[in-house]
């Protein structure tokens, strides 16, 4: 890799399972110290992509590099540079939280004393001190996920892969996880995150990339992508259906969408002046506007626009690709 500012780089990555082409040429680069959220439908190949970059799977063609190391030829150097939190919590349920951390630390070459010290730090950082000597099978889902993430951080790796780290977590645990991820970003860690929750991508990501049909079909900052697919919309509410119908008449020339039962109209809004103009027309036409809201396009709209289908799934569902 020539550019030292890029921590994760994929060039023309291809992978097929039998006759199923999962990745058909993925190009992607993640800058150091930033978070890229990889979005896509179930089965789009997000997990396959993560597995290739974490050396768990060999690409058929193309090349992947992490922290400057080739994922095939320098797999061990890549492994020493990364942390991985996958969809399945990869902890030993029969061991205690502390035993898990010490074991993983020793496997990461920290030595017995070093592994114990690091375990202590991480237990404290992830608020697991009270549960440290309990078997992991007694932990709640959120605690297991915290332990799992803390194991990924044992060597304080410069690059972190998080494959749906908050799937199945309750809202409070999710917020805690987000705070942790933000703190890691603040410390200079590079993160590649896959998620089913668009809100998560919106809150955390510097860059969002959408994987569909085996390729990256859109990439940019969340705001760039949103601007591409749509404009802000003004949503006007009315007292009744009669008022709604009259407003519809008055705004015939605008590109309005309406919901007669709710008596609301939504109008694409390019600037504030336009909003004033619309309200003036309502007033001069004698239609009372009972409510007004301005909505911005969401990443849902982005996904709908670039892959033609909404990508959100219910929380429990998991992606199965490999």
């Amino acid at each position: 890799m020539t550019d030292g500012r890029v921590a994760i780089e994929a060039t023309g990555l291809c992978k097929s399972f039998g006759s199923v082409d999962v990745l058909t040429g993925v190009d992607l680069a993640v800058e150091r110290g930033t978070l890229l959220a990889l979005l896509g439908q179930n089965g789009a190949g997000k997990t396959t992509f993560v597995r290739i970059l974490t050396t768990l799977l060999r690409p058929d063609r193309g090349r992947g590099a992490v922290n400057g190391y080739d994922v095939v030829r320098q797999a061990n150097d890549v492994r020493a540079s990364i942390g991985l939190t996958g969809q399945n919590t990869a902890v030993d349920k029969l061991l205690t939280g502390r035993e898990n951390l010490v074991m993983m630390g020793r496997l990461c070459d920290l030595g017995p004393a070093g592994a114990r010290r690091r375990a202590e730090q991480l237990l404290e950082q992830f608020e697991l001190v009270d549960a440290a000597d309990r078997q992991v099978k007694t932990y709640s889902g959120g605690m297991r996920r915290r332990l799992d993430l803390s194991i990924s951080l044992i060597t304080a790796p410069p690059v972190l892969f998080l494959d749906e780290p908050t799937t199945g977590l309750d809202p409070r645990s999710r917020l805690t996880m987000w705070d942790t991820i933000r703190a890691l970003l603040g410390g200079g860690t590079t993160v590649l995150l896959t998620t089913q929750y668009l809100e998560e991508a919106d809150r955390l990501a510097d860059q969002v990339a959408v994987l569909d049909g085996g390729r990256i079909v859109a990439q940019g900052t969340p705001n760039e992508l949103k601007r591409k697919v749509g404009t802000d919309r003004a949503e006007l509410s009315f007292a009744d259906e009669a008022a709604f119908d009259r407003a519809g008449e008055l705004l015939r020339d605008e590109n309005v969408r309406g919901d007669r039962q709710q008596a609301t109209l939504s109008i694409p809004m390019h600037d504030v002046k336009q909003l004033k103009c619309v309200l003036d027309r309502m007033e001069s036409g004698g239609v009372e506007v009972t409510g007004l809201a301005v909505t911005k396009p969401t990443l849902d709209d982005v996904l709908l626009a670039v892959i033609g289908r909404p990508a959100t799934r219910s929380a429990g569902q998991e992606e199965r690709t490999a």
């Binding site: 974490t54 990364i82 020793r106 070459d109």
Partner: protein, 270 residues
């Protein structure tokens, strides 16, 4: 040139492969050995099953089976040891299968370590479990009439042979664990290992059997292990049973270890 290399490898340690493999195996053996204590079902198989088998066979069949001088319990001990090795193998098969299905092997593979060490660790734990089982069998045996006559050298040879047998059986159990798709499937496959010792000289001398069965029993690889261990413990001549057992199980071990490594890579790779 040197500067480039320094940049490319900067910050990572390149450790010798063998040392890493030994260290990782030791750390993960610690994990698998802890599982013996943490898992009540394992304690059941390790301690109580051998006791029940020993007492059951001793008193259920002991009156009916004639095995020559010294009493049936003396004949039985080696057979019960081998049968309990087979039962303990089930634990290994299910343990390996479970590890493969849960995320933990993925995690090991994403770390700068020798991930096949997880298989070695399962075998080391199996040896520990079986040493516990054998100790229990000998102690309970002594209570119900077992009278060993072995010299220290005889004991050492018997234990050494059993450890070789346990290691080989455990690697076979690892292979079944790598082949199984589910813990249920793993249990089913390990029944193969559990069954084979029954068609041996474990409970009755082959001389009493019909010719066809006798030929199978006398020529299958478990029988020389039982005959050699029995002879060593009772300080009786063992003929070529010892060398036959070493050849069989040494050979199986030499095939099973690389095969397990191959299956591990095939299952996790691509």
């Amino acid at each position: 040139m040197t500067e480039m290399t320094a940049v490319a490898t900067g910050g990572t340690r390149h450790r010798s492969g063998l040392r890493t493999a030994l260290r990782d195996s030791a750390v993960l053996s610690g994990r698998s050995i802890r599982h013996i204590v943490r898992n009540p079902e394992q304690a059941m198989v390790v301690v109580f099953l051998p006791i029940m088998l020993l007492v059951l066979f001793r008193y259920l069949f002991g009156g009916a089976i004639q095995t020559g001088a010294g009493g049936y319990v003396n004949y039985l001990i080696a057979g019960i040891m081998v049968i309990s090795v087979a039962f303990n193998a089930t634990t290994t098969t299910v343990g390996v299968c479970t590890d493969m299905l849960e995320g933990i092997v993925e995690r090991f593979r994403s770390m700068p370590m020798v991930s096949t060490a997880v298989l070695t660790a399962h075998v080391v734990a199996a040896v520990v479990r079986n040493l516990i089982s054998m100790t229990v069998i000998v102690l309970v045996g002594l209570l119900i009439g077992f009278r060993p006559a072995a010299s220290p050298a005889g004991w050492a040879a018997a234990v050494g042979l059993m450890v070789l047998f346990v290691a080989a059986i455990s690697w076979l159990a690892v292979i079944f664990g790598l082949l199984a798709d589910s813990p249920e499937g793993a249990t089913g496959l390990s029944l193969i290992i559990v069954f084979v010792p029954y068609a041996s000289s474990a409970f009755v001398p082959p001389g009493t059997m019909p010719t066809a069965l006798r030929l199978i029993v006398e020529n299958q690889p478990v029988t020389p292990v039982i005959d050699a261990v029995r002879g060593l413990l009772l300080d009786q001549p063992i003929g070529n049973a010892g060398w036959l057992a070493v050849a069989w199980w040494g050979g199986i071990l030499l095939i099973a270890v690389p095969l397990a490594g191959f299956l591990f890579r095939r299952r996790t790779g691509r």
